[in-house]
Symmetry: C2
Subunit: 242 residues, 2 copies
């Protein structure tokens, strides 16, 4: 039996303010919750209308009715399982390999897609500027399809990171060098900018090289979506490094 | 002055059924409407709260109030300009170059992003299976950022297209050949499948080659989003063909 105040508390975690305040976030849906449980994130409560969908070794959950799930959920159509997890502590970024840095990415779907891409391409870590959308935003979590459990994400100012890095720093920019005509090193930092404004001036001046994806045909399209541009650039890094 | 029945008619075009019935679709937002006007699509009515935002040579519009725009609009926050356009007649697909074929892509955001990608990479034409989401769906139009004006889109069964093609046919498939280890020809058809189920069996048997994007690291991510996978594959086609 879940109480009214508990339901209200869980619903409050839809907002970044309350996530920060409590150090907790909410994940919904069987696949996402299972991935997070398996990644050994600390769960502070698992609620389900269908207990048979949880991992068999997992015994600590509460069976609730559809109506209560609907009251807890941030989704129009709640998806059988909802869990509250502790936000993992972030450690200082370690630049052992390629790192992706995001400078003010705002759209939750874009960030979620980018996290999923990093998981696919074996990029272990994303460093986000403080004004990038919160990765524990429910829409980000949905779009990651569970990859949030495997990619480390830190929020910090990008300037010190880029200044201190011993590795080369690259940034996606419409007027950058053609990616087909350069060779990426085996380590480095790749910066992707905001959906409307690209990379900020403060970060731009700290880049070793700006790179661009060539445009073909008669198109007057102004830019690529940041998630699709990230897809193309990570593929370029990896195809060369193999 | 717009009447109540006109407003209701325009709002009905949010639904595919009424778009088909009337051969009309609605576009919203300054940028999108301007792109469509410049692409010489036939407009059947342009409504705006801010006439100064329309192209200066364009004189045929109706100035309306915020309240009426809100009643016409499918957006939560209407965006100053709304126009009704005639759906262009689709011609038979001509396979003069690389063609992208979509087999049951369902998500409007994905289709819109894919149209924008084709515009960027100079792919002149997309052929969609009948069960692919309607490209005049308002959410698709928004995601194209105006590229819908420059890429031809036909809806037809994919089987005859693939059977009759003299060019090689490729399809994205998790178990396909590594894209880094093959060379794409200068013409062909690339097929992308449904978000959850991939390419259908009926289409799969007609492919000359299945191709896959290599996965790196320890990831257990099952697949890439169809729009990001399309981004990577179109980039691969173009980087080789240049």
């Amino acid at each position: 039996m879940v109480g009214k105040s508990q339901i209200k508390f869980i619903r409050s975690l839809q907002l970044k303010k309350y996530r920060k305040l409590n150090g907790l976030f909410v994940a919904e849906g069987v696949k996402l919750v299972n991935e997070l449980l398996q990644a050994e994130l600390t769960s502070e409560g698992v609620f389900t209308t269908h207990p048979e969908l949880l991992p068999p070794q997992f015994s600590s959950f509460e069976v609730i009715g559809e109506a209560d799930l609907k009251r807890m959920s941030g989704l129009k159509t709640p998806n059988k399982v909802l869990a509250v997890f502790r936000i993992p502590e972030t450690t200082e970024p370690v630049l052992e390999e390629w790192t992706l840095a995001l400078d003010g990415v705002k759209d939750p779907g874009n960030l979620g897609t980018i996290i999923r891409l990093c998981d696919w391409f074996g990029i272990p870590q994303i460093v986000c500027s403080e004004d990038t959308v919160d990765c524990f935003n429910p829409k980000v979590l949905q779009a990651t399809m569970g990859s949030i459990a495997r990619v480390k994400i830190a929020y910090t100012a990008l300037e010190p990171l880029l200044t201190d890095s011993e590795h080369s720093t690259f940034g996606a920019d419409m007027h950058g060098e053609n990616i087909y005509e350069l060779e990426f090193p085996s380590k480095g930092i790749l910066v992707m900018g905001n959906e409307a404004h690209g990379i900020s001036d403060e970060v731009g001046v700290l880049l070793d090289k700006k790179v661009s994806i060539p445009q073909f045909g008669q198109s007057s399209v102004e830019s690529l979506n940041v998630a699709t541009a990230t897809a193309i650039l990570l593929n370029e890094l990896r195809r060369e490094g193999r």
